[in-house]
Each structure stands twice: as structure tokens, then as C-alpha cells.
């Protein structure tokens, strides 16, 4: 069966669930609001990276992105809903690919719009502190931010498909992002540079050091997301519905 109608169906499923639209709205609102706050409050700190300050709303925003990815998949696991979906589209690989595309595209679009908005409002607050940012750095930050949020949504989507539970995926990922990054991250060093959130957020900094650059960092996050999606696809294709 052709891909386009399946994708259309998956896009309709996302559009017709208020909670999913709400998660995308939360992604925009949380990221922009926290970036605006950071812009106002952190101007006094000369050590802070102005690009990351402007995009620091990603920290709460990525949780909304992960919720979106996980819930878009887990909405299929309510009361045998997956059976209805797979009876309509028995080509499971194609079905999952459509689902992933229908998650990725809106996340990327909302992520890019969010990043632009966050940068604009934060710069208004940062004033001179952000005046040293070049256009290239800002474009890199915005594009990187959109891609990063998309990859985190896909990581959550893959895990939700593997675990057949959105709550399961989120209860793994959210503590991971909150605790590993902020607590263990600074202590352990080294390997934590390659954690999906750490690596992917390098692109949000004006200056960076360590083994990974902005794009190689995103590539590491992409590898994590790809692994989660591959595991999720395996589960969808091989387990009884």
C-alpha cells in the first residue's frame, strides 16, 4: 500500500488529539518563556554563554517535545487501538515510518519557530551581552535547536514503541535528562558528553570545547534516536498486536 495515505492518516491522528496539540503548544510556550526569563535574569553573569542563555528554554521545552513523541505513539496502545491501526495498515514497518514522520515534521516546524521566538525575546532581555553573536552562530543555534528537539521527540517515540507505554518511556527519559545532566554529568565527565541531551545541546552554545562539536554532537543524539526508533520498529514488527 502507498505511503502517502498512511502518512495522511497518522497526521490526522495527531491533529485530532488535543493533548498532542497541547504538548506542541507547551513546547513553544515553555521554551520561549524560560528563554525570556534567562534573558532578563542572567545578564549580570559575564561567564555565561549568550547563545545558550537565549536558548536555555530548551531545558523545559525538550520535556514537552519528549511528551509529544511518547504520547503520539502511546495513544495507539489504549485498549487495543493498535489492533485497529494495524488492521487498517498491516504493513507494520510502513505504518511505523509514517507515525515517525508525522511526529518529526511538526516537532521540527514548531521547534524552529520556537527557537526563533526564544532568541528574539531573550536578546531583548540580554541586550549588550548578546551583541557579540554573529548571524551564523544564531542561525546555527536556531536550526540546531529545532533538530535537537525533534531528535528528543523521536528518542521518546522509539522508546514508547519499544516499551508499549508512554509513561514508561517518559519515566525513563525525564529523570535521565534532569538528573544525569545536572547531577552526574558534572561529576563523571567523559562519557556523559555522549549522552543524548548533552551531545545534542552543544549546538546551542556560542563557544564549546570537548570531543564533540555542534554537528557531531547532534549526530550523536541522532544515533541515540535512531537506535530507539530501530528498537521500537523491531517491537512493532515482531510482537503480536
Amino acid at each position: 500500500m502507498p505511503f502517502a495515505p498512511v502518512l495522511h492518516s497518522e497526521w490526522l491522528k495527531i491533529r485530532t488529539l488535543r493533548s498532542l496539540l497541547g504538548a506542541l503548544l507547551a513546547l513553544f510556550a515553555a521554551t520561549t518563556a524560560f528563554s525570556a526569563l534567562a534573558g532578563v535574569s542572567e545578564t549580570s553573569d559575564p561567564e555565561s554563554d549568550p547563545l545558550f542563555m537565549a536558548l536555555s528554554g530548551v531545558a523545559p521545552g525538550q520535556i514537552a517535545a519528549m511528551c509529544f513523541g511518547a504520547m503520539a505513539v502511546s495513544s495507539e496502545f489504549h485498549g487495543g487501538g493498535l489492533r485497529t491501526s494495524l488492521a487498517a495498515v498491516p504493513r507494520r514497518g510502513r505504518w511505523f515510518a509514517a507515525k515517525v514522520t508525522a511526529i518529526a515534521v511538526p516537532t521540527l516546524v514548531v521547534g524552529l519557530v520556537t527557537a526563533v521566538a526564544a532568541l528574539v525575546v531573550a536578546r531583548a532581555g540580554l541586550g549588550d551581552a548578546a551583541s557579540g553573536l554573529s548571524l551564523a552562530e544564531q542561525v546555527r543555534g536556531v536550526v540546531g535547536c529545532g533538530i535537537y528537539l525533534t531528535l528528543m521527540a523521536l528518542l521518546a517515540a522509539g522508546l514508547a514503541a519499544l516499551l508499549r507505554s508512554g509513561v514508561g518511556a517518559l519515566s525513563l527519559l525525564i529523570p535521565f535528562v534532569l538528573i544525569v545532566s545536572f547531577v552526574i554529568g558534572d561529576v563523571a565527565g567523559g562519557a556523559t558528553d555522549f549522552m543524548p541531551d548533552r551531545a545534542g545541546q552543544i549546538v546551542l552554545y556560542e563557544s564549546y570545547d570537548g570531543p564533540l562539536g555542534p554537528w557531531t554532537g547532534l549526530a550523536v543524539t541522532a544515533a541515540w534516536a535512531a537506535a530507539a526508533l530501530a528498537a521500537g520498529a523491531w517491537s512493532v514488527r515482531h510482537r503480536d498486536a
Binding site: 492518516s9 488529539l17 485498549g79 487501538g81 485497529t84 487498517a88 498491516p90 504493513r91 503480536d240
Partner: protein, 306 residues
């Protein structure tokens, strides 16, 4: 002519055999009742036919092809598996639209099936506000979406009100009358008897019977004759020479077992027995089914005799 063919189908969950070497065909133009106690493997068989579960061995095909090989399967097979399958936060109409889109079924068909299942007035309400009966109707609407030649319904009368039960009876008869293949599982005997032409009966995952419903009943339950009379002594003495005996019931009527009304009628009228009522006592599907499952229980309880 699209039939469902199940060939040596077996499905094991761990060490438990849910479906055990099942072979049967479901033919078009009639309603096939799919009977068996809870846990007999009816739902599992339906999931295997739809390619949702993978068989341990054997095959299930629809019109000669496995379900998963069908392009736009909703146009070939409509299925109701679980009334809870629609997401509670979507409206009934949106639920059907998502299904229609994936199989390129035009949007007007969504409104048609909503109308046909009596859901048009609640189509824009969220599914979580639906009663069980309305969810059941939504599941049936989804099954009819692609105007499919094959329809599989798992316990469709669950939760329906009396009006809904009469409606589904008519719907099933109509679908079969249009030449479609209709397989309907149930554990309600009287309900199944009201719409089925043919029966496939499962017990513990195995095929117990695959016969026309009338034959199934008549092979297992002997007919009887119901009589009311003002003169029981005359009745008994008229029957005795012919080897029949009448048994009295609490409310005063008599029954003659293992007898046809044609025979008993002519005997008692020739003897001049005063009659208030004379009627054939129809055997029910329930009696036939219980007879079958009781022998099955004996069989499984004493495997050494097998």
C-alpha cells in the same frame, strides 16, 4: 466469492495452546456463528486471520491471500475486535476519518456509516462520552467503512440495548443477503440462534463442530411435543400402545419426548383425547450446545478413554 480459509492453524502463548490445529472455512452469503466458551480461542483466531498475531503454525487466508498481503485491507475485510479500541479523546467521526484516510476511503463514506449505525447525532462528541452500546456501534461503523465483502465481528451485541440487538440481527442478515462473508463470535446462544445460518464451534482451541445450525441442533436434541388436555388418563392410554409416554409439568402441560407433532397429533385425535393445545417443542441451540460441551467435558476429563 471471498471466503475465509483457516488451515491447520495453531497458536501457542508460552506453553498454552490457545488455538489447536484448527481447520475450517467461512463461506459467503450466510452468517456463520462462531461459538465457544470464554477462552476457547475465538478472539485469538480472529486476530490470526487479521494478521495481528502470528500463528505458531498453519495459515489463515482471505480469498486465498493472507490478510497482510491485501492492499487497502479495509476495502476487503471489516473487523470489530474491541469496542474500547477507539481513543477516548477523539470524536467518533475523527476516529473513522483516520481509518478511512489510510485506505483512501472517501470522507463521505464516514458520514454514511455514521448514519447507518445510528451515530450521526453523536458523531462530533468525544468517544469517552459514549456508552458501551455506542462504542460498539462505532466499532461496527469502522468495520463497514470500506464496504468490505468480508465482515468479522467479535461479540457485536455486547452492551447493545434491546433495540440495538434487533438492529444488529437485521444488519447481519442483510450483509449475508448481499452475498458477503459474515463471521460473528458470541457466547450468547439465543442471540446467535437468531441470526446464524451456520456454526463453527470451538472448545479449548479445537474445532468441535462446523455444521449448518439446523443440523447442529437436530443432531443433538430430540424434538418433543407439548400437549394440554382435560383428560390425562385418556392421553396416556392413547400413547402407550405406540411406545410413547407423556410427562406432566408443574403448570399442567404434558410433554412427549422424542416424538414429532405429526405423529402424536394423529394418534391422540384418533383416540378422541380432548385437546386444549398441541404444539411442537423446538429444540434450542442452547440445549444442543450444552449437549456438545458436556460430552466434550467428559472427553477431556477422562483422556485415558480417548
Amino acid at each position: 466469492m471471498t471466503s475465509i480459509e483457516v488451515q491447520s492453524l495453531t497458536k501457542e502463548f508460552g506453553t498454552r495452546r490457545a488455538v489447536d490445529d484448527l481447520t475450517f472455512r467461512v463461506l459467503p452469503g450466510r452468517v456463520t456463528g462462531f461459538l465457544g466458551p470464554n477462552g476457547a480461542g475465538k478472539s485469538t483466531t480472529m486476530r490470526l486471520v487479521l494478521g495481528l498475531d502470528r500463528p505458531t503454525s498453519g495459515t489463515a487466508t482471505i480469498g486465498g491471500r493472507p490478510y497482510t498481503a491485501l492492499a487497502e485491507p479495509l476495502r476487503h475485510v471489516g473487523a470489530l475486535l474491541d469496542a474500547q479500541a477507539a481513543h477516548g479523546s477523539r470524536t467518533g467521526r475523527d476516529h473513522l476519518r483516520t481509518l478511512a484516510a489510510s485506505n483512501r476511503i472517501p470522507g463521505r463514506r464516514v458520514d454514511e456509516v455514521l448514519e447507518a449505525t445510528g451515530l450521526a447525532s453523536v458523531a462530533r462528541r468525544r468517544v469517552r462520552t459514549y456508552s458501551l452500546g455506542m462504542r460498539q456501534r462505532l466499532g461496527i461503523a469502522a468495520a463497514l467503512l470500506g464496504d468490505p465483502p468480508v465482515v468479522l465481528l467479535d461479540e457485536p451485541s455486547n452492551g447493545l440495548d434491546p433495540e440495538g440487538i434487533i438492529w444488529i440481527r437485521g444488519l447481519l442478515r442483510r450483509l449475508a443477503g448481499e452475498g458477503r462473508t459474515v463471521l460473528v463470535s458470541s457466547h450468547l446462544m439465543n442471540e446467535t440462534a437468531s441470526f446464524a445460518d451456520h456454526l463453527v464451534v470451538l472448545g479449548r482451541g479445537r474445532l468441535l463442530a462446523d455444521t449448518p445450525m439446523r443440523e447442529f441442533i437436530h443432531a443433538r436434541v430430540q424434538p418433543g411435543v407439548r400437549i394440554r388436555t382435560t383428560d390425562p388418563t385418556a392421553l396416556k392410554s392413547a400413547l402407550a400402545p405406540h411406545g410413547h409416554d407423556a410427562v406432566e409439568h408443574e403448570d399442567g402441560h404434558w410433554t412427549v419426548r422424542h416424538a414429532r407433532v405429526d405423529e402424536i397429533g394423529s394418534i391422540v385425535s384418533a383416540a378422541g383425547v380432548p385437546l386444549l393445545e398441541l404444539a411442537a417443542e423446538e429444540a434450542t441451540l442452547e440445549q444442543a450446545y450444552l449437549d456438545l460441551t458436556s460430552t466434550e467435558t467428559e472427553f477431556t476429563a477422562h483422556p485415558q478413554e480417548a
